[in-house]
């Protein structure tokens, strides 16, 4: 069998390996990590005939330019992504959610995630990766995961350890929906904020800051007034928790967040909106809408059914 691999001609802005993430390590300071947009991660694996929990390549904004060496392999891109496939000096525009067969020396050039943030590349096979605590997921801030916990770099080689036998072309029609209203539940320190502050938080617009990354989404907008204490005794954090530090600007914890924090928690994002939240690009405006726990549970069930329904169509 010939050796199959990708050469990274251009790595892109923040290209990492991700999978379902790590469980049961919060208590020693290791966050969940994993693919930011879980639905697009699952769809990518399903389209190339993989088990749903295999590692994929996640990229943000500008993705990688990869050259394939080997026999043949199917690839798919999910998300809202602009990319080109180069085969025998002919370049074609690629469509997301449609598989392409790459042969020796074909290239895939991921130009941008359009007006979203994250996109996914899956191959009909396995990347040759060393897992850490059961997951490949790279957390670049803590240097945890495959590739020594670092993002992919130019000129690097990505080895492929196995290719699926039957590779049929697959395609689904799917359009990512966008949201501006993020549904939240009151946080455990909601009453640390003045009536004015609570009102501002739930009624005014916030702008997603450029300083957002896989750890957190920073927001700029009205300063949320705290009337109790701008610090709490350090306690656990979760993805989706919205903390408000002393400067009054909310920060939403995302997949690579620190596991413990000492700022008051004003609210928590409903799980149903997490995949779409992380896709909101810097400069965009968002608003929060309060919902009850029971509504959040029902909405998540419906979202999950929709995901399963999409997967079953493939």
């Amino acid at each position: 069998m010939s050796k199959n691999y990708f050469e990274i001609i251009r790595a892109g802005v923040n290209t990492t390996f991700q999978d379902k993430g790590r469980n049961n390590l919060y208590h020693i300071g290791i966050p969940f990590s994993g693919a930011m947009d879980n639905r697009n991660y699952l769809l990518a694996n399903k389209l190339v005939g993989n088990k749903l929990d295999l590692p994929v390549i996640e990229f943000a904004y500008q993705g990688p330019l990869l050259k394939f060496y080997g026999d043949k392999i199917n690839i798919v891109i999910t998300g809202d992504v602009v990319f080109k496939i180069k085969q025998n000096d002919k370049e074609i525009d690629g469509n997301c959610y449609e598989t392409y067969e790459l042969k020796d020396k074909d290239e895939i050039n991921i130009l941008s995630t359009n007006k979203s943030v994250y996109g996914y590349l899956a191959i009909s096979g396995k990347f040759d990766l060393k897992l850490q605590w059961g997951s490949c997921s790279i957390n670049t801030k803590a240097n945890i995961g495959s590739n020594d916990g670092k993002k992919l770099a130019n000129e690097q080689i990505i080895n492929i350890s196995g290719i699926n036998e039957n590779i049929n072309k697959k395609k689904i029609n799917y359009q990512n929906s966008k949201i501006e209203n993020i549904r939240v539940m009151k946080g455990t320190n909601f009453d640390y904020f003045s009536d004015e502050g609570k009102k501002d938080f739930l009624e005014k617009e916030f702008t997603v800051s450029k300083l957002s990354d896989r750890m957190g989404m920073r927001l700029e907008g009205p300063e949320i007034e705290n009337i109790v204490n701008t610090n709490i005794k350090s306690e656990g954090l979760l993805k989706g928790v919205i903390q408000v530090p002393a400067d009054g600007n909310p920060i939403i914890m995302l997949s690579d967040h620190g596991t413990i924090g000492g700022y008051p928690k004003i609210a928590v994002v409903a799980s149903v909106d997490y995949d779409r939240l992380v896709q909101i690009s810097p400069g965009s405006k968002i608003k929060f809408k309060e919902i009850e726990l029971s509504d959040a549970e029902t909405l998540f069930k419906l979202y999950e059914m929709e995901t399963q329904n999409l997967l079953s169509q493939i």
Partner: protein, 224 residues
């Protein structure tokens, strides 16, 4: 005992054990943490114990708030008293090249360097929690006369192995990281070993820690 259970979003329980920070309350948190961990309750995917809170996160695809809350309320913690908490000695070198904030500490505490080190090394510490960065232990309690605030401007990079103090706590920087604690020395001991698949962290909540002063010579030879 848990005083109150709330939901933290739709995928976690927020168990409140009180507002004070002391060994008694924290030991309760750790008791619950150990019991729940041992029981392997379906759907629970993370536990975060801290000074006086325990956050239990679960997979909303498998379970929900009510189910997990019921299970936690029915939990028999009294039975789960067998703990495997350890006593650990941590070597620390306080050579001037490591004790980055000694002068600041002398000024703020109004104590001599010798007195500060004597207080620090005579103290037996208790691990309240680990986290923030992987494996970082939060240890307490320092006596009243040893308590200082964080640096006004945090360091962009605190060297790996640094041992710092703030308020009633001491901690160890398991990785190079930004941070604002007052650095008293440095340990050559690998407090967090990322190459270990099981138990990468040396210090766990509930453990007892004693620091032991070593010379620069001993520090240099420590890992050889």
């Amino acid at each position: 005992m848990i005083k109150n259970i709330l939901n933290l979003g739709d995928a976690a329980l927020y168990c409140d054990f009180g507002s004070d920070v002391n060994k008694k309350i924290n030991s309760e948190v750790i008791k619950y943490f150990n019991t729940i961990k041992e029981q392997n309750i379906t759907g629970i995917n993370n536990l975060t114990p801290s000074y006086n809170k325990l956050i239990i996160s679960y997979d909303l695809k498998v379970t929900n708030y009510k189910e997990i809350k019921d299970k936690i309320e029915k939990l028999n913690v009294a039975e789960a008293l067998k703990t495997n908490n350890k006593k650990i000695e941590i070597p620390v070198c306080c050579d001037p090249s490591f004790s980055l904030d000694m002068e600041r500490l002398e000024n703020k505490l109004n104590l001599t360097k010798e007195k500060i080190l004597e207080n620090f090394f005579n103290k037996e510490f208790f691990c309240y929690m680990t986290g923030f960065i992987a494996g970082m232990p939060f240890l307490g309690d320092l006596d009243e006369n040893m308590r200082v605030q964080r640096l006004e401007t945090p360091r962009v990079k605190v060297p790996k192995g640094s041992v710092g103090i703030t308020e009633q706590f001491a901690d160890i920087y398991t990785f190079e990281s930004p941070g604002g604690w007052n650095i008293i020395g440095n340990t050559p001991l690998e407090v967090f070993d990322s190459s270990k698949e099981i138990d990468p962290n040396l210090i766990n909540p509930g453990d007892t820690i004693k620091f032991k002063q070593i010379s620069l010579e001993e520090y240099k030879n420590y890992n050889e």
